[in-house]
Symmetry: C2
Subunit: 560 residues, 2 copies
């Protein structure tokens, strides 16, 4: 018995596009002899549709396309995720289509309403289990959060199902993939001889990135056998037709893209076994994920040209590299905007990076503009020392120039800030924070360095000096980031504990960090929420990202 | 029997400040002979504390201050709203303090998780009613949303309570006040002879504005008697000690502030009876609400100086007026930044407005800066026509100048955009959208005009020409807003139906609007979500504001 897993990348709200995507996969499934096609959670409308769900016409349109698919493939059993309105209540549902109509519908029981999730804003909880038969086998249906909570899977197990189909929209986090697979295996192993078929979305959507990694658990898992029966890659759109009766999980995999950054030969199981998950492999996957996030943002928002300010530093170098893998090179313009504080090495390195990546490179000196602003402000600033104002002025002139290019040539600016900077507000609002997408927003600086090394693994693409010299904003004489901030190892350590692990200052200090430094960093984090609120969206890749994942008041006098 | 209502303005997270505020009101209550003091929902920590609630230390600190109040006032019954952790579950609670300790605690049953509310992200639902006795009378406790849903009040009624105390953090909307009172009266009237004591927060918190308007329903309400027993004013911090045994709801009211903009003599009941709510009275209240929102943002975020770009147009005029009532005049600087497109009348009007309001006024010509930018970009823009790029450049130069003033003189810039502009993206990101607070963000342009007329009711404060001439961004020759946008009456009509009333395009067209215009406006609204995501916070005053009230994806290809 063959089933087909559609690890697809729908676009939120683009119902016609998503319909065509599912039709394409249904055709492949039929061609490969599959009897059941499984698509991810809310595959008909993309995830998360947010307040589009409050629009009745939107819900009706989803229903229209759902029926259209049912009619088109009467001989294939298809599981589709969709929103459903019933007696004025909205549900997050999965329907089984067959013989031209909806045969059964399961309504998600457990609705996540934490972190990035707001499902209780929209949906009601389903109450009933849904089971269907196929060739003397019993299949139960679950949706994402259902599998993580005691109840829904146990209900199916009591009904003696052979397979649980779980459709998902589970966002990527750098350390989550193997944890996800192992914890689900552990849960399933307690339920007896049930096999779980897990199908996940792939693709970028505003602040979220879905990593796919669909899999099927082994029919006999126990503590000594943690192999999966089948698993797909992260970050690739693909269709996998798997024979459930074969012992080996034989499969026909049709891929529709390939890793934009390909370095190591990897088997499809490589990233699932703990032993083989080297840190380097995680970074490799992260890099491909970031490329996909940017690619999808640009494509799904119909953005044509891309502009990026190169500083000669590491962040803008990585962002340019990611852009060069996500977007056609002829649509990318890198702009170097030197001031008197820009070092010769920055100019040289920016130029050689642009050359290595084959993108358009421009140099626009900001000195004349700085002079003009200083002149305009001379009367009002008379007798006052240079300070942060003049530093920000440089960053803002660059922002204005980049936006002028983007406006004139129909494009978008990429923001280059990393998570460490954004955490402590070491960035200029309306300056280097300018941009429509901020791909490193959730990537701490220490991880930015690791990405750089990954990129340079086989050949030097990013000039070595960009990686080795002390990081500097070059906004004043001989400035380095460490004039104002602790060492990035220390800073990222504190950010990890405070933001991601939700430690208090006292607990962080107990871990061995200097009390003075911890207090300073925590204060900076709390007092810079106003800047983050005006920052561009970027993909969540850690356990706790800024944005919808961490909702802090701007106005707050709590002293943690 | 006297009770004391504390219509207070706590600061989110500032537990020590809020503690002192409650202590102050407890002292007043005792002085005025009250036996029970009632404070609003989550009065100990402010509302909404958002993800501060995920911090265990924060919850512990709330408990600490709660106990401190109990010990300090052993002879006064005090109702305090606070978060409570019990068996690892968090509740939104109200405790009765007496004799030095917590006597009873009610956990909110109905948790709002729509619009601006995210209570299911944090809290669990309480299961039990709580009733306490005082002088042979039975009092039940409810919290905000509880009173709007069938169940909690009915449970109390079945237990024969004499009074229901409902503590609230109910945000302001321009048309909500009388509706709130009347609908609650209707609900209470069905429960027999119960009196409802409704205490609401007052003050601004990021995107929210609480209007107070605490009240007590009449003991005998029916369809013919809709008078309230007692009601307080909107937008004022006050303490009201009310005698529940008197027929007249006699009260001692201690106010701690006054309306910053005072025009009409108003009785405390004026804004509650439908007959007397003239549109003008709503505008008057709205204006005072906006002033409070700005005042609280500036005060609670410890912002010292304020900078605002004056254009000679109506939006910046109103924002400056609001600032002049919210902040000391000596801390306000209005900056006029003319270009070649700035009309003589704009220059004159801006100057006379600043003079009328007594704030510092500066003129900084942006022409030299425009020339510098054009020169820097000349090579790259060679042979290309002027377009939106040059218009945005002017707006962005102004943004950079304002931020330079704010950075140099330790201040914040006020954004001046209105809801109509922000809806259709008729604004320059990093240009006129620059600012830390956007007081008109949820005020449609047609309402901005009404506010201007209200301000000028008794004397001309805003030069008449600002109100009467056609609105223009003055970014190109002879430009007016209506070159690109429909008339504001039409635009605001469509925005009201599409955003606030959730109508589809088809439904709006049926209402008589031009199909072409509706489609254009709806497309503009949907395609400008990316700009709104980077905009400053501003207070919600309509039924549906942009921001946390309306959560739309940026990436969405749904065509409504």
């Amino acid at each position: 018995m063959k089933i087909s897993l559609a690890q697809i990348n729908p676009t939120v709200g683009d119902l016609n596009y998503n319909y065509k995507l599912i039709v394409k996969h249904a055709n492949i499934a039929e061609k490969n002899g599959a009897e059941i096609l499984i698509t991810p959670e809310l595959s008909i409308c993309g995830y998360p549709p947010e307040d589009l769900l409050l629009n009745d016409e939107f819900i009706e349109s989803c229903k229209y396309f759902l029926n259209k698919i049912a009619v088109k493939f009467p001989n294939l059993k298809i599981i589709i995720g969709h929103p459903r309105k019933h007696k004025n209540l909205l549900f997050n549902s999965a329907s089984l289509l067959f013989k031209g109509k909806i045969q059964k519908t399961y309504d998600k029981k457990i609705l996540p309403n934490y972190g990035v999730f707001d499902e209780k804003r929209y949906f009601n909880s389903g109450q009933k289990s849904v089971i269907f038969n196929h060739k003397n086998k019993k299949f139960g249906i679950l949706i994402c959060e259902d599998i993580w909570t005691h109840g829904p899977a146990e209900d199916l197990s009591q009904n003696n199902v052979d397979y649980i189909i779980c459709i998902n929209a589970s966002p990527y986090e750098i350390n989550k993939a193997s944890k996800r697979v192992h914890e689900i295996q552990k849960r399933i192993s307690r339920l007896g001889a049930i096999q779980l078929i897990y199908v996940n979305l792939v693709g970028g959507q505003d602040e979220l990135l879905f990593d796919g990694l669909s899999f099927i658990t082994h029919p006999n898992i126990d503590d000594s056998n943690r192999n999966v029966y089948f698993s797909s890659k992260q970050f690739l759109t693909l269709n996998a037709t798997v024979d459930l009766s074969s012992n080996l999980g034989e499969s026909v995999i049709e891929k529709y893209d390939k890793f934009p950054f390909h370095r190591i030969p990897s088997s499809s199981h490589l990233h699932l076994a703990d032993d083989s998950i080297t840190k380097q492999c995680l970074i490799y996957n992260l890099l491909n994920g970031l490329i996909l996030a940017m690619k999808d943002y640009v494509k799904k928002n119909s953005i044509k040209n891309i502009f990026i300010g190169l500083s000669g530093g590491i962040d803008s170098a990585i962002v340019l590299f990611i852009a060069s893998k996500a977007i056609k090179k002829e649509n990318i313009t890198a702009v170097m905007m030197p001031s008197v504080f820009t070092s010769k090495s920055s100019l040289e390195d920016a130029k050689s990076l642009a050359k290595n990546l084959g993108v358009t490179y421009k140099v626009t000196n900001i000195e004349p503009l700085m002079k003009s602003f200083k002149k305009s402000l001379a009367k009002d600033f008379k007798g006052l020392e240079n300070d942060i104002t003049e530093e920000n002025l440089q960053a803002r002139i660059r922002g204005v120039l980049l936006m002028a290019y983007a406006n004139k040539f129909n494009g978008m600016v990429l923001a280059t800030g990393n998570k460490s900077e954004i955490a402590v507000g070491y960035s200029t609002v309306y300056g280097d924070m300018v941009g429509g997408f901020s791909v490193l927003k959730d990537v701490p600086k220490t991880l930015v360095y690791k990405i750089a090394n990954e990129i340079n693994y086989d050949q030097i693409i990013i000039p070595n000096r960009i990686i080795t010299r002390p990081p500097s904003a070059e906004l004043s004489e001989n400035q380095t980031d460490q004039d104002n901030l602790p060492n990035y190892d220390v800073l990222d350590g504190i950010i990890d504990l405070y933001i991601e692990k939700n430690y208090s200052s006292a607990m962080i200090i107990k871990k061995g960090f200097s009390a003075q430094v911890v207090k300073k960093v925590v204060k900076l984090i709390e007092s810079n929420e106003f800047k983050r609120r005006q920052s561009a969206p970027g993909p969540k890749v850690t356990y706790k990202a800024f944005g919808k994942d961490r909702r802090y008041p701007i106005t707050s006098n709590y002293k943690p």
